[in-house]
Symmetry: C2
Subunit: 355 residues, 2 copies
C-alpha cells in the first residue's frame, strides 16, 4: 500500500448510532417535527460525521490556500496574476473579506502559500510550501507533475493534522488564485463529464468575449488531459491548481480525523470532487456552505450529493463569487447556531409541553 | 392628528448620503465589484436605514410576542391551544429553539404576553399587557376591538422605546400563538388580494383535510371582515392576532428610531404588511431574514419589496416553519458578518492591490 492509499484507508464510515441518536433527539425537542427544515438533515449528518449526537463546533479554522495558475497567460481572468500575491499580503495584514468574516465567526485563519509566484515575506500566519511556484498552463501542459501533486496532497494532510492536534471541530476551506475558476471548471468537466457550457462561468467578472475564450481554453485543457492522464489523481495533476491539490489533501486529512469539512465555492468544491473520486468515503464529512454565482458549482455539488433534494443542500444562496473561504466563514455561525439548538433545547417531557 | 398618525409621522425617509457612501465604499474594497452578491444591496439598505455608512449591529434583541387565537376553536392547528402558554413558559425557562439561537447570536430576548389565555407567572423577562386574553374567532367575529388594537400597537411602540433607550441596533421579531398562521393568511389575503389557495399553508404541519378546512375558515373570515371593515387598521383588528397587532406597533416604533427590523416568518411578515399599509415609510427599514416553508410568505415578502429581484431578498431559504423568531435569530450573525466586512476591509489603495 502506498502512502496515499494508507491515508485514504484511515477514513471511517459515518457513525450510524450518533446519526440515529440525533434523529430521535430532534423529534423529541419542543418544536413541531421537521420544523427546522434543512437544518434537521444537516444536524443528523453532522452527528454521523463527528460521532457525537450533539456535536460542538467551538474550534473552527479557515484553511486558505493560494497559488498562481499558468493558464492566466491565456487571458482568462479579469485580474492580472500579480493580484494573487497582493491578496495574500492583504490576508496577512487583515484587510480582506475573509479576515472580517473569520473574526466574526470566531475562526482562526491559516494561510498556505501553495505556489504563489511573487515573493512573500515570512509571517507567523503563513506556511510556504515551496514545492512549485505557479502551475503549468493547463491548455498546453500539465499543471504539475504527479510527484508534485502527491507532495501537495501530503502537505494538505499535514496542515490539518497540525490544526487537529491543537483542537479542531470544523474545517472551512478557502482559496485564492487568479484564473483558478478555469482550473475548477476543467476539473468539474473532467470528473462529471459535463460540457464547458455548463462548467465555465464568469469567475470574478469577465465579459462575453472572454467567457467564450475561457471555454475554448478549458476545451483545449480537457482534450490534452484526456490524452495524457488516466485516473482521478492523474487528472488532478493535469488540470488542477496547486492550491486545489493542497485542498484535496486537507479534505483527506480532515475526514480521516472525523472533522467536518465546510466547502466554500466552486474551487474548493472542485477539490472535493477530486477527493471524492480518490476516496468516496469523504462524502459524509462534506458540507456545502453556499451555492455561488458560478453555474458549474451547483453541478459539482450535485455530483457530491450536496443538494437540498439529496438532504444536504448548501446553507446559503447569496450569489457570492468572492472565494477566499468567504461563503464558508459566513456559514460557520449558522452551523454553530444549529448545533446549539440540538444541544440546548428542552424535550417535550422536560418542558411539560403537549405533544 | 391622532396618536397613531403622530407616531407614523415620526418615521423618516432613508439616508441617501449614507446609502451612496456605502455603495462607493463597497466598490473600493479589495474584492471584485459585486462579488459579495446579495450582501451588497443588503449593506446599502442597512446604511440607508441606519444613516451610517458602516453600521454596527452589536446590540440586538428578539421581541417575541405571544397570544392565543379564538379561531383555534375551528380546528385549524395541529396543536391544542394550551401549547401557547406552555411554550411561553418554555421560553422563560430557556428551553426553546429561540433561546439557543438568540444566545448564539448574542441577542437578548424580550417576551411579551400580548394575550395568552392560560395564567402565566410573573417573570423578569416577561411583559404582560393584560389588554385581552385571546382574540375573537375571526371566522365569526372581530379579533379585537379598534380600541384594543390601538392599545396593542401602542404597547409595541412602547416596548421598542424601552429597548431603544438602553441601546438597540437591530430588532428581530418573533411570535408564538397556536393557530396564528390562520390569522397571517387572512391578513395576507386581505392586504394583497391573493386567494386562500395562495395564502393558506400547513402551518406547523396539518394534513390535507385540515388544510382545506383551514382555507374555508379563512374565506369565512375574509368575507366577514370585508363587510365589517374599511382601511388597514380596521382589517388588522378584524383579522389579526393580538401578538400581530403588538408587532405592528413594534415595527412602527423601531422604524421611527431608525432601527432596522429583521422579520422572521409568515406571521411577523403579515404584521409588516399591516404596518406597511398603515405607513409605507416603514419599507426601507424592513429586512427579510428567511423565506419559510409557508407558501404565502413569499407573496407577502414580494408585496413588501423584499425579494432577491427587488434587491432585498431573504438571507436564508431553509424551509423553516417554526416561528418564535428562529429564522430572524439565525440571520443575525449573517448581518453582523456583512457589516464587519464593510467596516473592516481594506480598500484597493490601502492594501496596494491592483484594481
Amino acid at each position: 500500500m502506498n502512502w496515499l492509499d494508507e491515508q485514504i484507508a484511515r477514513i471511517s464510515a459515518p457513525d450510524e448510532t450518533a446519526r440515529e441518536g440525533a434523529r430521535l433527539r430532534l423529534d423529541n425537542l419542543t418544536k413541531p417535527r421537521g420544523s427546522l427544515g434543512q437544518l434537521e438533515p444537516l444536524l443528523i449528518r453532522l452527528a454521523a460525521a463527528t460521532g457525537a449526537i450533539c456535536p460542538t463546533l467551538e474550534r473552527s479554522a479557515v484553511l486558505l490556500a493560494a497559488a498562481d495558475h499558468g493558464v492566466a497567460a491565456e487571458g482568462v481572468s479579469a485580474y492580472p496574476q500579480v493580484v494573487t500575491g497582493q491578496m495574500v499580503l492583504n490576508f496577512l495584514q487583515g484587510g480582506a473579506a475573509i479576515n472580517a468574516l473569520a473574526k466574526t465567526a470566531g475562526a482562526q485563519i491559516v494561510i498556505i502559500d501553495a505556489g504563489v509566484k511573487s515573493e512573500l515575506p515570512p509571517h507567523p500566519q503563513l506556511r510556504q510550501l515551496q514545492i512549485r511556484a505557479g502551475s503549468g498552463n493547463i491548455a498546453r501542459e500539465a499543471a504539475m507533475s504527479p510527484a508534485e501533486g502527491l507532495q501537495l496532497i501530503k502537505a494538505g494532510v499535514d496542515s490539518v493534522d497540525i490544526l487537529w492536534k491543537s483542537g479542531l471541530d470544523l474545517l472551512a476551506l478557502g482559496e485564492m488564485g487568479i484564473a483558478n475558476t478555469t482550473a475548477a471548471a476543467a476539473l468539474t468537466s473532467a470528473y462529471t463529464g459535463a460540457g464547458v457550457e455548463q462548467t465555465v462561468g464568469r469567475g470574478t467578472g469577465i465579459d462575453d468575449i472572454t467567457l467564450f475564450h475561457k471555454r475554448g481554453v478549458v476545451v483545449m485543457a480537457l482534450e490534452r488531459a484526456r490524452r495524457a492522464a488516466q485516473g482521478p489523481l492523474a487528472l488532478l495533476c493535469e488540470l488542477g491548481g496547486l492550491e486545489i491539490a493542497f485542498l484535496v489533501g486537507a479534505i483527506l486529512g480532515a475526514t480521516a480525523r472525523r472533522v467536518p469539512v465546510l466547502l466554500d465555492g466552486y474551487i474548493t468544491t472542485s477539490a472535493a470532487l477530486a477527493a471524492y473520486e480518490l476516496a468516496p468515503a469523504v462524502q459524509p464529512y462534506l458540507f456545502a456552505s453556499h451555492r455561488s454565482a458560478e453555474p458549474g458549482h451547483h453541478l459539482a455539488l450535485a455530483q457530491l450529493g450536496l443538494t437540498v433534494e439529496q438532504g444536504a443542500g448548501p446553507l446559503l444562496q447569496l450569489d457570492l463569487r468572492l472565494g477566499e473561504g468567504s461563503g464558508a466563514a459566513l456559514a460557520i455561525p449558522l452551523l454553530k447556531s444549529a448545533t446549539a439548538v440540538l444541544r440546548e433545547m428542552a424535550t417535550f417531557t422536560e418542558a411539560g409541553v403537549s405533544e
